[in-house]
Amino acid sequence: MVKKIDDETMENICILAKLTLSEAEKEKAKEEMQRMLDYVEKLNELDTSGVKPLSHLFPSHNIFREDVITSQDNRDALLGNAPEKKDGQFQVPKTIG
């Protein structure tokens, strides 16, 4: 399946990636992604029938610990990096109209 990156797909990618692209940038991105996906297509030449996907290299399991609080009150330190803050909280633009 060779996927053709059309304008609609590109629009959807920008929504998912939370990026705004100019028309010229969109054209360039479309072209580059198409080239990359055409190349990635090569993977279909590899027979993977009956193969389980490998996402973790070593047998992994949930790591549990006692539910004990180890962190301290870091509010000021945490807010120190915030672009905007108010009353000891992160400030964001109005979210509901």
Binding site: M1, K3, T9, N12, I13, C14, L16, A17, K18, L19, T20, L21, A29, E32, M33, R35, M36, L37, Y39, V40, E41, K42, L43, N44, E45, L46, T48, V51, K52, P53, L54, S55, H56, L57, F58, S60, I63, R65, N74, A77, L78, G80, N81, A82, P83, E84, F90, V92, P93, K94, T95
Partner: protein, 502 residues
């Protein structure tokens, strides 16, 4: 030539013997930085005053017995994607230009316990995405061996700093070759450890299933000593492994007689430059003369490595970099219309081109309707690759590979064609996809005087084997850093002319 030309272990020995002070070593690198940094630009930030204070503290601590160990008092540089409490950590990105972490990466805690002196943060490709250190938002780094060329990437600043004697040691991170390829380009030594050996706590994530922090140094012994310092279980990283065989320095000094080395035929195809190829072939001959067994094998999954890697790495990156939204830390766009527009404008203005490219590719391969065809397919390919490498390691101790198909490109040549740049990772990405350890060390130079790197790849947990082999080979080779030129004439040996069995 001053103190800065010593290896880290030589400096530490002189400090222990009382021949020089910790401050002398720190002063020597800062004097070298003064001389070189204007041209090289390996560092993004330097901590001169703190380093001088720390030197006095370490000196005192050593006298009181608080600090001991082989790297006590040694100055070290840290890649700028590793968090140091209270120090700007930018990842080479505008979006983190003013980010000051309030917590310490586990590796930094370990450097401090070992009595080391952190001297600064090194330049890197933005979020470690790139092969040249040219995608940094804060300017390029030049290759100290030839300043018209790139140092490689993404740990280009760390490798350039060590190569220019602007640091005795450095920490880098390796997601697809980001320690090994710049080590090769700069003529230094670097190790990518087995996944889970070094804690990733405090390393800004690029692709979490591939990322590992590792050492960069002037030789194998220095790297082994630093790896020992930074390795070990950390409950703060859920992928951290409980290993008991972490005395890597003990592996050095043994011979390699009877050791079995495999050379994948697929690594010697037309994409490999003739000069890198002939230097690599000389290595094979040397190893045979040292009593090793060197055989050609076939790794049929080689051609699938780059496509699988870029799908998986981009997918993980798109997810990891979702957090940069202009709310909790970092840059926020000045003008926007509402919350969602703030996210989009912040990310659009804050990220560079290469990072956006990978976020978009990753978002696509994870999106509904394409997840199975691309992401899941790549994970299945990864499983097939693992089977193939497992079979190879049943028979062989080490897989040999060049570090890159060519030596360091000229500045400004690589970013024009992203796919062509990605193809340069052909020899390095398998190690990350499969969690394997690998060491990269210099094995020659091309006609332009640019270093050529050799990779020794081991099975998971087999750091000691590859370090023993690398150290033995290094002893045989002329000390590259020290003498700066290869005495041995690089010739095109018989073995390179056909599919010969050695």
């Amino acid at each position: 030539m001053g103190l800065e030309t010593l290896t880290a272990l030589e400096l530490a020995e002189k400090i222990r013997q009382g021949q020089v002070s910790v401050l002398d070593g720190v002063k020597a690198v800062f004097e070298q930085i003064e001389r070189k940094e204007g041209t090289i630009h390996a560092y993004l930030d330097l901590y001169k005053e703190e380093a001088f204070e720390r030197a006095a503290q370490v000196e005192k601590g050593m006298a009181e017995g608080k600090y001991s160990g082989p790297l006590c008092g040694v100055p070290i540089a840290v890649k700028d994607n590793i968090c140091i409490q209270g120090k700007r950590t930018t990842c080479g990105s505008k979006i983190l230009e003013n980010f000051v972490p309030w917590y310490q990466a586990e590796v930094i805690e370990r450097l401090e316990k070992a009595g080391m002196v952190i001297i600064g943060k090194t330049n890197m490709d933005e979020f470690a995405m790139g092969s040249t250190t040219e995608t940094s938002a804060f300017g390029v780094t030049r290759n100290p061996r030839n300043t018209d060329h790139v140092p490689g990437g993404s740990s280009g600043g760390s490798c350039a700093a060590v190569a220019a004697s602007e640091a005795y040691l450095a920490l880098g991170s390796d997601t697809g070759g980001s320690i090994r390829q710049p080590s090769a380009f700069c003529g230094v030594t670097g190790i990518k450890p087995t996944y889970g050996t070094v804690s990733r706590y405090g390393l800004v994530a690029y692709a979490s299933s591939l990322d590992q922090i590792g050492p960069v140094g002037k030789d194998t012994a220095d790297c082994a000593a630093l790896l020992e310092v930074i390795s070990g279980y950390d409950p703060k990283d859920s992928t951290s492994l409980q290993r008991e065989d972490l005395c890597f320095s003990q592996a050095l000094g043994g011979g390699i007689e009877g050791m079995r080395f495999a050379v994948p035929k697929e690594y010697l195809t037309e994409g490999l430059s003739p000069e890198v190829r002939s230097a690599f072939m000389v290595v094979l001959e040397e190893l045979v003369q040292m009593g090793a067994i060197v055989e050609f094998i076939s790794l049929k999954t080689t051609e699938f490595m780059i496509p699988a890697y870029y799908v998986i790495a981009s997918a993980e990156a798109s997810s990891n970099l979702e957090r940069f939204d202009g709310v909790k830390y970092g840059f926020r766009a000045r003008e926007y219309d509402g919350l969602h527009d703030m996210y989009k404008k912040t990310r659009t203005e804050g990220f560079g081109e290469e990072v956006k490219r990978r976020i978009m590719l990753g978002s696509f391969v994870l999106s509904s309707g394409y997840y199975d065809a691309y992401y899941l397919k790549a994970l299945k390919a990864r499983a097939v690759m693992k089977q193939e490498f497992d079979r190879a390691f049943e028979k062989y101790d080490v897989i040999l590979a060049p570090a890159a198909p060519y030596t360091a490109p000229r500045l400004g040549e690589s970013l024009k064609d992203p796919l062509a740049m990605y193809l340069g990772d052909i020899y390095t990405v398998a190690v990350n996809l499969l969690g394997l350890p690998a060491v990269c060390l210099p094995c020659g130079k091309d006609k332009a005087g640019l270093p050529i790197g050799l990779q020794m790849i081991g099975d998971c947990f087999m750091e000691k084997k590859i370090l023993r082999a690398a150290h033995a080979y290094e002893k045989r080779r002329e000390a590259f850093i020290r003498f700066g030129s290869e005495k041995k004439q690089v010739v095109f040996p018989e073995i390179a002319k056909g599919d010969a069995k050695v």
